[in-house]
Symmetry: C2
């Protein structure tokens, strides 16, 4: 392993001078700088991050908080996996490396913040935390610069899908197609992740604007974002109301569960009952019928999150919250009641 001392020896300059040349700090003369850089190149010098990190307290490490207990899908999560893909692309060209922060190693590190200290992590991305309440609040107030996607946490800038708008669009699409009794199957929510509720709020707003009566008994809240939950939710909804003609579901995965129940109850989709989902999963176009749904803009979310992160590193002020519209993808799971 070649160190700055090897370069010092070969060039005749001192270690601090080598350091300054390598980092472009300090006012060195062009010629010595060039000489040093040349020798560094010749020798195949690479900095030792541990040494650098020990003195500077920086690490060029970006902590990724990405865990997935609920859905058991991990990297294959339809939204989070996609965001992480793009985020990674954007970030890696900058010379930073990505490292996962994990609750599994918590017993040794107690919290995300301690994990950050342990590794001198410079900055964090909150994509999907676990046990959010304690450890995320601690992170938000730790002084470690963060950005989050889809989690709204006080003190952390967020890039998030415009969920309310999407809910509004789903409902007005139903209404314009002649539906009047619209049910909603909600995914689970937490203090920091209220996507499912925001979508409902958009739906209510549309109903109000179009003069429809909102009725809470047409809403079913699920404890998890799974097919099974969608199935059960549909069952109770249909047990309560025979007049439902349209259902907006928080995710395509849950929508499949709901549709499976409707089918098992002898209903035809969309002839007897219509559905709109969320996420545009890989299976959504192939389901029978192909599912009308929303596609969250993973690419843009990932890009913007990376941009905000880089700005935070550079000390540039950053907006608190940016909303990204979801694309509405119309397929065949909604019936036009007028025709």
């Amino acid at each position: 392993m070649v160190t700055i001392y090897d370069i010092a020896l070969k060039t005749g300059f001192s270690a601090p001078t080598i350091s300054k040349a390598l980092n472009g700090t300090g006012g060195l003369s062009k010629s010595t700088r060039k000489k040093i850089l040349t020798v560094a190149e010749e020798l195949g010098y690479r900095p030792n991050m541990a040494a650098r990190s020990l003195t500077t307290k920086k690490s060029f490490l970006i902590g990724i908080i990405f865990e997935d207990i609920d859905m058991q899908r991990g990297f294959e999560h339809p939204l989070f996996g996609g965001i992480l893909n793009r985020l990674r692309m954007e970030i890696e060209v900058s010379g930073y490396d990505l490292i996962f922060l994990s609750h599994l190693s918590m017993e040794k590190r107690n919290s995300y913040v301690e994990h950050c200290r342990y590794r001198n992590i410079d900055v964090c991305v909150v994509i999907n935390p676990v046990n959010a309440d304690k450890s995320i609040m601690e992170l938000a107030s730790s002084g470690i610069p963060c950005v989050s996607t889809n989690f709204v946490i006080p003190g952390i800038p967020t890039v998030i899908t415009a969920n309310k708008e999407a809910g509004y669009n789903a409902a007005s699409y139903f209404i314009r197609n002649g539906h009047k009794k619209i049910a909603y199957i909600s995914g689970s929510y937490t203090r920091y992740n209220v996507a499912a509720l925001d979508r409902l709020e958009g739906l209510r707003q549309a109903e109000k604007e179009f003069g429809l009566q909102y009725d809470e008994s047409y809403v079913e809240y699920c404890p998890q974002w799974t097919r099974e939950c969608g199935y059960k939710a549909m069952k109770s909804l249909l047990g309560r109301h025979k007049d439902i003609t349209a259902v907006f579901v928080s995710s395509d995965n849950m929508a499949v569960g709901a549709m499976e129940y409707a089918k098992s109850a002898g209903m035809k989709i969309p002839e007897d009952i219509s559905f709109i989902g969320f996420d545009d999963e890989m299976f959504s176009e192939f389901y029978s019928p192909p599912i009308t749904t929303f596609r969250q803009n993973r690419t843009v979310i990932g890009e913007l999150a990376a941009e905000i992160l880089m700005n935070r590193i550079a000390g540039i002020p950053v907006s608190e919250c940016v909303l990204i519209p979801a694309d509405f993808i119309i397929r065949s799971s909604v019936k036009n009641m007028h025709s």
Copy 2:
């Protein structure tokens, strides 16, 4: 930040003694060890990895080589994403952290090996490398302990799906169902990743055993694992041979492309032509018809890779290559010609 010197001050012992107590090295008396540990706990001491890494040349960092150029699916890759999920679970409880090695940062680091040196990375997992030839060979011979999944690289132990066996099973299933003219659509392959070829080899062996004639003109090689390629491959295959009744395809994704072409050519599946795919994607059960396919055992592969890695870290000898059978999932895309 509390350091070992703070503990030294408070306990009256020297820094080396604190270090030994914390690490469980050196023969300290029970009482001083206990005293030190208690104070460390009180003070909320956390080791500084940079300092530790600087002296020990270890980092408790596991480098993940996981890139995805071809398929553009990244973490959502049906095989690699799943493997990474499990691998991560297994590894994080051990106190190691995962860090991504990337070709995007190559210009600054030149190779995976240099990236490893730069971060003092202890050990690597090769899940899906890019530009494999140069940088992977260098890694294999670098002395850095590695394990790979699905890539067979000299000098690196591998956990991999039993592809030949799967190909054999696919072909014999076709044959037992009365098919005689079996085509194969191959995904792309490289020197280190010959899954698509291994599956073909299994198919040929089955044909041979069952007394069928192998004909290379019934094979189509694709440059990429995409739907478009599957579509084109099916087109040329059908252009060459009218008598094909069954097609084995390297992936469900490509199979969808192939089936779309068959449909567009007016063929019914499986009435006119049968298909077996690979991967069991999320959409495979919902496609029309539901696709008969193989499911690679991501969980077992991830687990075993982690186990091998831990053994390598511990210096325990490890087997060169372990083959994991894929589950055959029978759905409705194959016709029984006997009935």
